[in-house]
Amino acid sequence: MVKGFVGVNLRVNLSTGEIKKEKINEQWARLFIGGRGYGSKIICDEVDPKVDPLAPENKVVIATGPAGGSNTPASGRVMVITKGPETGTIACSNVGGFFGPELKRAGYDMVIIEGKAEKPVYLWIKDGNIEIRDARKLWGKKTSETEEVIKQETDPKARVVNIGPAGVKLSRIANVMVDACRAAGRSGVGAVLGSKNFLGIAARGTRKVEPFDPAETKTAVAQARKLLKESEITSVNLPKYGTALLVNEINERGGYPVRNAQEAYDEDAGVTGGEEIADKILIKKWACAVCPIACGRVTEIREGKYKGYHGEGPEYETTWALGLMCGVHDLNAITYAHYLCNEYGLDGISAGVTIACAMELYEKGYIPERDVPFPMRFGDGDTLVKMVQIMGERKGIVGDLLAEGSYRLAEHYGHPELSMSVKKQEMAAYDPRAIKGIGLNYATSNRGACHVRGYTISQEVIDWPEPVDRLKYEGKAELTKYMQDFTAVIDSSGMCLFTIFGMGYIRDYGPILRAVTGIPYSDDELMKAGERIWNMERLFNLKAGLTGKDDTLPPRLLEEPIPSGPSKGEVCQLDRMLPEYYQLRGWDEEGRPTKEKLAELGLKM
């Protein structure tokens, strides 16, 4: 029997009310590790890739990993896996907080949600007991209120995941909130729960999850903590300034997309960065379960129109998307817009990038005045806030379209090229024209444009664990593949990706996974599992109808040189990296895994 896992998955059919407990498949635990890998295996086996993501036939897996529930640092992560409504690809969205370890203590590794409830419901799991509860009075309420009421109805110490108004209204950029302040933000996973009339889960448990070898686990965990302590990133700068510390790092290189990526540098970007957040709005840092890093920000707006509001964030990605991507320098408005995204249950990245797209469409005259409730120009903080509100409420013609994400909005107005997205998911805060490898990663990520599926920024900007020249094309195919496979391992372990800033190599993760599970996989086998997970996700997408033609970037990033700043004149020549990437992956020229590669990984088309 493998350890680290509780050993039981919970399957809830909302259409029939049937609840099943299923044993963990030990073979899968070895081949797919857990978390993202194991959960994706369930989706790939059980969901027709061509299904409408918002139909009852789609399923959602909420999965922890084998390292979770132990003392392993930053191991409280949860992956929400489904077929995504924004991209039509397999989608998984990762979140921290305290829900993951609590779910394991309550008796389950994963929860598989299928079907559709007749009326809104939520799930209450307490020490192995399960109850499907009426959620009608909470349906469409803000996320913090929902969390509070669910705790009142269940247990004040319960940990809660839930959707907000955006998920209820089936926004394709709706998230799933954990502890009312952390988000499984990307890929519209919240809308899939909304389509099932499923509000969320409350969990409370007192069981202990035993590792396979407690002594070895203790040694491996001590080593991991040592590495995180030795790194100035994880021990000093992330705790002190949060993730938004990267604003200046990226902007000073001229790779910070501004005004819907019409530019990539802003002289005053620093006013929205981590140093300024620490100075102006920070109350204290915040850590997820067993995390020694504490990159979260508890903040309060202390001046101006939004004075007195408090909450969590903004993060690097949201201070960018809701900030300079929309031409906004007003940190108070950005912070309030971030709070609103959390309350509506909207992905802050996609929300900001979609608003930026709408602003460009409006300024260029592509959105008629009759469709807009107010002028939607770049640069105004109050306009940004109002746009988040109409997006969250799907109010009016434009509000309804904003909730669909940037691609559908831009397509509706005849200019899909102005959507800064890949496979219809919005890009993150790194301009591939200035940082080439991240462009290849955006183009090939299995859930559309995404930075954290293969965070080449670690090498290309952070110089960690080894520096790589951001402007060179050579070597980027290999780096991207490596980071994608490596990340798939970390995402499947239950640990946070940010641990890579101290634990730079697979050799730093292997000892923990072996000690916790008792599975004697080598480090090479773990990397092979990462590659297997990546290819399995790719197969799902190919069966869903996507092709190699979808592995591209918005035309702006391929063709329009950056007009000014330190990376002036740069474009992203994807064709200098993509063929080599396919070759390294063992895929044919159209991006399909070859028979040989599938046989090597034990996968079938």
Binding site: N237, Y241, L246, C295, Y316, P566
Partner: protein
């Protein structure tokens, strides 16, 4: 010549956020850093005991990581002379130098 220097994160506590520095023509990044480290505390932040720049301190010259600044090769008296990049790169009037500790995030 004048060079603008920007500091970020914990370096701001020590060096301030931004400085404009007057340098002799032909000065290198090394000269600039020597000038900036006007106290033992400052020097210890940037350099180790042997005088080498501490690993993972990132210095950008006009947005380019100095690790990847290419040296210039010129012919002098019939010989090819290689000028070093990196910390030995020469500065020019109007250059912007950004100095970061080891930061990450995203």
């Amino acid at each position: 010549m004048k060079v603008k220097v920007k500091f970020f994160a914990i370096f701001r506590d020590l060096f301030g956020a931004e400085k404009e520095v007057e340098l002799k023509s032909g000065s290198t990044l090394q000269d600039l850093l020597n000038l900036l480290c006007d106290s033992r505390q400052c020097r210890q932040k940037l350099f180790d005991r042997s005088g080498k720049l501490r690993p993972y301190i990132k210095i950008l010259k006009n947005g380019r990581n100095i690790l990847f600044l290419e040296g210039v090769q010129i012919e002098l008296e019939g010989k090819q002379i290689q000028f070093l990049g990196g910390i030995h790169a020469e500065l020019a009037d109007g250059d912007v130098v950004a100095i970061f500790p080891q930061v990450g995030g995203g």
